[in-house]
């Protein structure tokens, strides 16, 4: 299997197969990450697509870190931008009441336990959710998260610990973890 960075180089040169390989390898985890940060699966798909579009236009001189981490950084920044845009224009109450059909989340996460985990993660504060998502889904190191979020590494580790601790307690309350 060709290395991710090499795949990207080939894709920049116009290799459609390499580009498709790269997309299939990373698109699902990117959707999980962006959906988790924004709380919307639809937005997660849009942002994952947008991340790949950005990837095509970015010029990389040195391959530092893992490709997954690099791609997660692009997606994280887009997700953060989208979340702040959404926070400044929240949907109206009437729109929330009117929508009683299964949510895209319910359609996307079909396993009950998985849906509970997603909802528990969503119930965390934004700061805790971001770090947990970047670490567990984005696969980033604590150093990378600190650099990306501008939060000291000690705080990153502390937030990660409390995020997981809170999640475990909520999962126990819901009977998922024992």
């Amino acid at each position: 299997m060709i290395d991710d960075w090499d795949c990207l180089d080939l894709a920049h040169g116009g290799d459609e197969n390499a580009w498709r390989d790269l997309f299939e390898r990373h698109y699902p985890s990117l959707v999980r990450m962006t959906s988790s940060i924004t709380g919307s699966v639809e937005t997660g798909h849009d942002l994952a697509q947008e991340s790949f579009v950005r990837l095509l236009h970015v010029r990389i001189r040195h391959h530092t870190g893992t490709f997954k981490s690099f791609l997660s950084t692009i997606a994280y920044r887009l997700a953060l931008k989208e979340r702040s845009r959404h926070d400044s224009h929240p949907p109206s109450d009437s729109a929330l009441i009117a929508d009683s059909s299964p949510s895209p989340l319910e359609l996307a996460i079909r396993d009950d336990t998985d849906r509970i985990i997603f909802q528990v993660i969503q119930s965390l504060s934004a700061e805790h959710r971001e770090i947990l998502t970047l670490r567990l889904i984005g696969g980033q190191s604590y150093e990378e998260i600190a650099s990306l979020t501008g939060v000291p590494i000690g705080t990153v580790k502390s937030r990660m610990f409390y995020a997981v601790k809170i999640c475990r307690e909520m999962m126990k309350q819901r009977g998922v973890f024992k």
Partner: protein, 131 residues
């Protein structure tokens, strides 16, 4: 080492302990079955949190844009040369010599301008001439 508490084990799983504390927990886990079991349980739970199963219908990847046939370096040099030519042309246009107009003011009246009474006429005696 005494048995580490659940929080310390969770920090160990999350790799947030400092190096010395982490290595002493690792040593303890190698000999303590009870803590080893709890460690495995925490490891499984943390891993599970990061593995929410999404049903994702993989869409088509975004299309690769067609690139210019010219290599980037050639395109850059062409742009630099074009800007250079443009700047040269504009500089040449702006520095085109124009014959200056010199305005002289004669302070000493000519003989004809002096009246017979010896007074000088107050009419303008400025004149514009070429050098």
């Amino acid at each position: 080492m005494t048995h580490p508490d659940a929080d310390t084990l969770l920090k160990f799983v999350l790799q947030t302990l400092d190096e010395s504390e982490g290595s002493s927990v690792a040593e303890h886990l190698a000999v303590c079955v009870r803590c080893g079991d709890l460690h495995q349980k925490l490891l499984g739970e943390v891993t599970r949190l990061g593995q929410v199963g999404f049903h994702i219908d993989l869409p088509a990847p975004p299309g690769i844009p067609r690139r210019s046939r010219l290599p980037l370096a050639v395109s850059r040099w062409a742009a630099v040369l074009a800007i250079g030519f443009l700047m040269g042309y504009l500089t040449a246009q702006l520095s085109d010599p124009v014959r200056p107009v010199v305005i002289q003011q004669r302070l000493i009246p000519t003989r004809a301008e002096v009246s017979s009474s010896g007074f000088v006429s107050c009419q303008a005696i400025d004149a514009t001439t070429s050098p």
